[in-house]
Amino acid sequence: MIARLTLLLVMVTSVSAGVVRGQVSYARLREAPSDPGSWLTYSGSYAAYRFSPLAQITPANAAGLRPVWVYQVREGGQVQTTPLVADGVMYVTEARSRVTALDLRTGRPLWRYEPVIPKDVKFIGFGPSNRGVALLDQTVYVGTLDAHLVALDATSGAVRWNVTVADNKLSYAITAAPLAIDGKVVIGVSGGEAGIRGFLDAYDAKTGERAWRTYTVPGPGEPGHESWGGESWKTGGGATWLTGAFDPELGLLYWGVGNPGPDWNGDSRPGDNLYTCSLLALDATTGSRRWHFQFTPHDTHDWDANQIPVLLDATVAGRPRKLVATANRNGFYYVLDRTNGEMLVGVEYARQTWAKGLDAHGRPIVIAGQEPSEKGTLVWPSLQGATNWFSPSYSPKTGLFYVPVREMGSYYHKGEATYVPGQAFQGGGEALRPGEEAYGAVRALDVLSGRLRWEFRLLSPLWSGLMATAGGLVFGGTNEGNVFALDALTGKPVWDFQTGGGSAANPVSFLLDGKQHVAMASGQGVFVFALP
């Protein structure tokens, strides 16, 4: 009897352990930094450090890193995914919103979801890529190129619900990874080159019912509407095309907003064009706006402010402050008080030729004559920005904010812009300044002052994100296919591996059988590395 009871207990324990293991609960997401064996959300944690607390791989042993397995995507197109890792499974996305669940030990597919994407799907101003999924409880969430949000059963990949976020005929699309919070899934949209009116949405995680929508371009009667001349707000852009950060204690979401439309011809939209090129702090329960900070008023260079906001707490001038730090596409690094949006620091981190600096409130002091012109105006940074969608990383161990940098200028052209629903609404463009003078860099900034601590130069302007680790490394990738590791304190390169295809993705780290692994997409593959 005792023996039988013991057996029963063992069975119950193992079954319940299995169930618990497969549940990425909100509590687990909130405590993601204390679960370093997994990578549960796009930026690794709600505070969006893209930092791994794992420390097995160090500058002393990183030279021994070797590929463990490679998964090759089945859908051609750039692989921009941030893999998520939970409970022995890796979830990756491919172009055209494909989702594949992989066995973490071997890279063998467990299931695959292929949404039906219409042949005439619109994605104007970018590629058909997808940057990753969100996990919550037993569900995997993916935004699709034709602007749906889909909930998939984590065990089988079966669809639990599928809702239309916006009309793809008007060129709304989704490439960003959703953010799962307490009972809700938050999703941003793309379409800023096609005259959309941008918004951020939250959906009930269980039912797919929309919980709230907050427009990034205020309508008549709403604060900020006066910053749009005439009817220009209707086609004002302001896409929300990357994944934001979340402060569960304050109950606030921090989300970047993209360029105004049309991009390079601002004649039809006099005013600051709020809340484009801004960071928004939104009440996570209602979506209502708490504060905003506009980095580039009346932008005409396509300098979206969608880059990842990083949330940290620190003592500034003897006072404990809740901060948000971000390296903006416009060439400036900002530290704001995340309770009210007050700017504490705003300094250049890359070459820029359009502003003398920032005033005390953070408004750029613009140099005249840097607007796009018919003949082309040479300005740094290029319209791809001093940085772009690929993630920065913050290490609480070194106190350094690592920025993937693009050092490149371009000729900005101004052209005509006529709004036709669902078509490009850009008003010009750029011609890159070619040649050897353009380059990429990993820059380590003191997180509180923005001062440059070190730089590691790369051959060409980066399209890949960074991840710092507690082992004292910064991982990244290059356009030429190198995946590399730098010493987080000095920037000295300690390891590199040629993957055979350019990298345009973000690294992650996790444990497999108690051993630290690093994963990064490069070329048409997802590569997993570990020490022998």
């Binding site: 750039q78 005439d120 619109k122 994605f123 104007i124 101003g125 970018f126 590629g127 890529s129 793309s190 379409g191 800023g192 080159e193 896409a239 095309w241 991009d263 396509d302 979206d304 018919e374 003949k375 082309g376 319209l383 791809q384 772009n388 490149m408 052209h413 052209g415 005509e416 812009a417 006529t418 078509q423 490009a424 850009q426 010009g428 463009g429 750029e430 011609a431 890159l432 070619p434 040649g435 050897e436 353009a438 990429g440 130069r457 790369l458 051959l459 060409s460 302007p461 399209w463 356009n479 030429e480 296919g481 190198n482 590399f484 390169p493 590199d496 040629q498 295809g501 350019g502 345009a504």
Partner: protein, 265 residues
């Protein structure tokens, strides 16, 4: 937004269908196309489409654009593997206007070249010894750029400059995964740990390694971190100048010959 995907073109703007060519462009259309061409295309294709780093466009037949629709496609998509990107900064109407202007260039008489191509070919094969480094229709050595289609790729002014001052303007080629062009055949000087020196043309490079082919055709694969020094030389070429080796008339002849090297007239 435009984060720009890493293709040969900076941005894949998926337009529903390329703009239609203008059936009968007005003077205003041609004038507008002319202004846009001078501002944005002439840097490579020369004022009036006379060519330069990019091919001459003042020809009745364009190799990549036999029909007006093809010309617009080149403007929309660029030409993969070359420095020509899609002119996505132009609106659909502007693309059609530029295409109409480019077509009009083919109706003006083409540039008369002073040299004699037959004598030029004799110089190419004889005292010029060009085949020691270049391939034409399968013959020669592959150290320098292939010249089989060079008359369709470059303008005569560029070729003349390349013969007299080869390092002045190196040909450009796009680097995979980056919508940016880099100088091809860039001369580099690397000093190895033992002090040995390698001078040659850059074949490829990434942030950690560089591949160099020396004047004898030997390939050297080098890790940058292991080198004593690595220098990229601007304004020079592995190709010798013909400034003194050939007379002005002989250079005219050689340019005239090179300009005949294309599969179509």
């Amino acid at each position: 937004m435009v984060w720009a995907c890493l293709l040969a073109v900076p941005v894949t703007a998926q337009a529903p269908s390329p703009p239609k060519p203008l059936a009968s462009p007005s003077d205003a259309d041609l004038e507008r196309g002319h202004a846009l061409f001078d501002a944005q295309c002439a840097r490579c294709h020369g004022i009036g489409g006379t060519g330069g780093m990019g091919p001459p466009l003042n020809r009745a037949k364009l190799r990549r654009a036999p029909r007006d629709e093809d010309l617009i496609s080149v403007l929309v998509e660029g030409v993969a593997g070359t420095a020509m990107g899609g002119a996505w900064q132009l609106s659909e109407r502007e693309k059609a206007q530029v295409a109409a202007y480019v077509r009009s260039l083919g109706r003006v008489p083409t540039e008369a070249l002073p040299g004699d191509p037959v004598r030029g070919q004799a110089i190419y094969d004889g005292k010029g010894a060009c085949a020691a480094c270049h391939i034409v229709r399968g013959t020669g050595a592959g150290l320098g750029p292939e010249l089989t289609e060079i008359g369709a790729r470059r303008g005569s002014s560029y070729l003349r400059q390349a013969l007299v001052d080869p390092g002045a303007e190196l040909p450009e080629r796009p680097v995979p995964y980056e919508p940016n062009t880099y100088a091809a055949y860039l001369v580099v000087r690397a000093v190895l740990p033992d002090g040995a020196e390698i001078v040659g043309g850059r074949v490829n490079e990434d942030s950690f390694t560089i591949q160099v082919r020396d004047g004898a055709g030997r390939l050297h694969s080098l890790r940058k971190a292991e080198l004593r020094s690595l220098e990229k030389k601007q304004g020079v070429s592995l190709m010798p100048t013909y400034r003194n080796a050939l007379s002005a008339a002989e250079i005219d002849d050689l340019v005239a010959y090179l300009m005949t090297l294309r599969s179509e007239p």
